[in-house]
């Protein structure tokens, strides 16, 4: 039994965390096991999940949103994180002038609101009043322009790239910090060994920042599977065109709160939220137990 003062000191944190995190989480999981029967709430066991995964009325939308979500995540992993690492490597080069200015410029979009970003990019890419068509026209590439946000084939990728534009500053900063923490003497030892430039990056710096890249990957995963706001701001809750940009967040929003003619269903909404929780939990567990244990953290 811990001493009483330990409990007293722990109490505020535990109470606040329970009230705003643990209780809502478990209540959501509980709510997913009920359904509305007229005005009554009845216990239905796992029936909501059965409908979500198997009933075509729900499952088509669910699998569509899940698939889109994976694509959204993949774009971030393949575009945002490598660019973030590359930018950090460039920024940490001692010969780069105005590094602080670039660092700030690249990081600024991160602190902008989703609403501004979504709306601004909608305007930029608009075929009617956007500046993208005229900019492409100015360099003679107008033929490349398409209403990217309005085409089913491009819309999700375009939104993912907008999100990459907004958030590339975060991996950049984390990697930049990791690169700065590598002792100068190790790089000089490499120089004496003939390992300079690109070789120094691949053979010395990259292995030493792998733990940071791991952390960034898991942050990207959690962030992407919880994403909602950018899609909502740019495409609305229907995640058009024809649900091609629908991800789990927007699907959950429509289901839980209702949208236009669709009535809100807190029970099915909770089932979706529980499924999202499960997916993220599995992803994080794979990372923690499968990957992070193999990454070594180095002391310098």
């Amino acid at each position: 039994m811990p001493k009483p003062h330990v409990l007293i000191f722990l109490a505020p944190a535990v109470l606040v965390y329970t009230a705003v995190m643990i209780y809502p989480l478990f209540d959501t999981l509980r709510l997913a096991l009920f359904a509305a029967d007229g005005q009554e709430r009845v216990y239905v066991g796992l029936a909501n999940f059965r409908r979500l995964f198997l009933d075509p009325l729900w499952s088509d939308q669910f699998w569509n949103a899940l698939g889109n979500n994976f694509w959204f995540f993949l774009i971030h992993m393949l575009v945002q994180n490598p660019i973030g690492v590359a930018l950090a490597a460039l920024l940490s080069s001692p010969r780069l002038r105005f590094a602080a200015a670039y660092r700030t410029a690249i990081f600024v979009p991160t602190i902008l609101s989703f609403v501004i970003v979504g709306f601004a990019w909608k305007l930029i890419l608009s075929p009617i009043w956007g500046i993208a068509p005229s900019l492409l026209d100015a360099v003679g590439l107008k033929s490349l322009f398409a209403p990217w946000l309005g085409k089913e084939a491009y819309a999700l990728t375009t939104l993912a790239l907008i999100s990459v534009w907004q958030f590339v500053g975060i991996p950049m900063m984390l990697i930049y910090a990791a690169l700065l923490s590598i002792t100068e003497e190790i790089l000089e030892a490499g120089e004496v060994d003939g390992i300079t430039g690109m070789a120094a990056f691949w053979k010395i710096k990259l292995p030493l920042i792998l733990p940071s890249i791991g952390i960034i990957s898991i942050l990207t995963f959690v962030g992407n599977f919880n994403a909602f706001d950018l899609i909502y701001a740019a495409q609305g809750a229907l995640a058009g065109p024809d649900f091609s940009t629908d991800i789990l967040g927007t699907f959950l929003y429509r289901t839980f709160f209702g949208f236009q003619l669709q009535l809100g269903d807190p029970y099915m909404g909770s089932a979706i939220a529980s499924a999202m929780f499960g997916i993220i939990l599995v992803g994080v567990c794979i990372y923690l137990f499968g990957i992070q244990r193999r990454l070594r953290h180095y002391q310098f």
Binding site: A189, D193, G194
Partner: protein, 331 residues
Amino acid sequence: MTALTLENVSKSFGKVEVLKDIDLTVEDGEFIVFVGPSGCGKSTLLRVIAGLEEATSGEVSIDGEKVNGIPPARRGIAMVFQSYALYPHLTVQDNMALGLKQDGAPKARVAEQVAKAARMLDLEPYLKRRPAELSGGQRQRVAIGRAIVRDPKLFLFDEPLSNLDAALRMNTRVEIAALHRTLKASMIYVTHDQIEAMTLADRIVVLRDGRIEQVGAPMDLYNDPANRFVAGFLGAPSMNFFERLPGTRAGEVLGVRPEYLRPEQGGRLRGTVTHVERLGGDTNLLVASDAGEGFAVRLFGQDPTRVGDDVAFDFDDARALRFDALGRRMR
């Protein structure tokens, strides 16, 4: 063949001149120690030789070849860093092999060189370990091993023992001396520790404020210093300087090492003991003299003198060194 020649080497960082007109020749197989107080430029000089810094002016030649502008890896040098600077993500074996691999050396030669270095430094049981799993002394040996495998014409050591505890420092010092005898390679060693300098060096280079004060064999510097700085820098406790002894002219300074003072009734140095250090083998006394000049005395063996005792010492005039007002030796 000369292993290293420095001609008029200067180095400035912006407006700060760190090295001023350094001239030095190191013969093949020599063990040279750069010694001096912090900020004297000894590490910078080593980095200029290594190629980690470029000399602002002057010429650096290694093994008869001018190396200004040539990157460190192609200068035929190997360096051991103060913090060891091992690659934390690589095993001992890979740490030693990385440079050769980068050079494109054939696998068989890499394996052979690593095995040879591991044998020489007793690292064989640890080849598969990473630096984090090694003790400080073992890491130090890996860093030396990484230098050996490159078969360099010139070894550079940057205060390699300063992160080790006293006992280990002594052992490693002996090992480095043995290594020098085995490899017969030219070595340059930077330290601020005069014991390391005295015990390891064939020749010592004493630096101050970016200039070479004196170059010579340890005992030559000890017995025959060119100026007051070198005289005071080598030896512990350091040399005593007297300006107010009877018989010294104005502006002249008399230097006497603490071990050359002998107790003598009515001697020229009289005073009161202010501190006693009993080291077992030696006893060091700090004395405030009646003339107002403090001095140190080193007595061999154990001595019963206590703080507050009135004492008197004298010395052989042949043992005293005379310096002028600018600190230059007067012969």
